[in-house]
Symmetry: C2
Subunit: 194 residues, 2 copies
């Protein structure tokens, strides 16, 4: 089955201002390392990229950095080089009003939007990862699934309410609670096997 | 089922000499970023560590850095801080003959050993990840499974021969070939569900 796989990851502490050092992603860059690992998990195969993936990084509910797997370039698996690409997107956002999306580097786009904007416009079936959900395999043969994840912090009450409003189904991927990037890796593997 | 899960990861290009910069893990540190992501995948749960894991990083078939999940400390999920711990282990190896393992930081041990030494001494069932293997679930209820993975390079002919000699069973985790750290994440998820 050919699907577009879509991931929305909420980053609560990454700064909007791009003047952080790449030498301290967990500190001054506000756990940007977490988002970089989500990018890695979303796109990398061994010696290949997953081209049928869209990833939205929602930063402080104010900026959205979208990675388009069909056009993205200059992507490497390590955290630091991915952080540099995100930093470039944040720099682009400093000099443009961004009512429309702008491309910061090939396949990476930035806009001034909120989580709710993405949920309203994303085209697909929103599957919420939840420990009480049905097994992913029983639900996943849907059109263009959308998975929403949070960084190192839990969803806020407002975010959870939005997510509940837009969720089409709750799905479960395993008995242990894992990091967002590990969840993306597991989702890919489980969908690959369908 | 309570198992010790064991992972051996072969690093072909990480330098034995620890005088590399943490600012260039993919370059001067010889793709140390790959090994750091394997450490992350092996140990991290959301807000917890997997204590029932042993991870062996075999560096240029000359040094072995062993992470013991039951005692490891100071481990953070980002690549750079994990690289600093591995660098400390390599520094320890500079000043000791290392016929015996030495602890460089809590739960991290270094010794002058080869891949074959680890295969000979590791106590468990060696499961080779292979596209022609049986599904992991059908094989995995074994004592203390041992998974052997390679970094960004394929196994050399000598390594493959050793692996074949010690392999108890071949197992398959999915139709797509994935990075070593993603394979570790998938293995954990599939074993968690048994």
């Amino acid at each position: 089955m050919r699907q577009l796989r879509q991931f929305i990851v909420l980053g609560h502490t990454v700064p909007i201002e791009p003047d952080f050092t790449l030498n301290d992603l967990p500190g001054s860059a506000g756990r940007l390392d977490v988002l970089c690992r989500c990018v890695n998990a979303a796109f990398f195969l061994s010696h290949d990229l997953r081209h049928d993936v869209q990833l939205y990084l929602v930063i402080q509910d104010e900026l959205v950095v979208r990675f388009d797997g069909s056009t993205v370039q200059y992507l490497n698996p390590d955290e630091r080089s991915t952080a540099a690409l995100i930093q470039k997107a944040l720099e682009k956002a400093q000099v443009h009003p961004l009512e429309e999306e702008r491309e910061s580097t090939p396949g990476i786009h930035v806009s001034r939007r909120e989580f709710s904007d993405i949920l309203q416009t994303v085209d697909g079936t929103v599957l919420q990862l939840h420990e009480d959900g049905d097994p992913l395999e029983t639900v996943a043969p849907v059109d263009d699934p959308v998975f929403v994840l949070s960084d190192h912090e839990d969803f806020s009450a407002d975010e959870q309410a939005l997510l509940d409003e837009y969720t089409d189904a709750r799905v479960r991927i395993g008995p242990r609670t894992v990091h967002a990037d590990h969840a993306i890796t597991i989702v890919h593997n489980r969908l690959d096997r369908l």
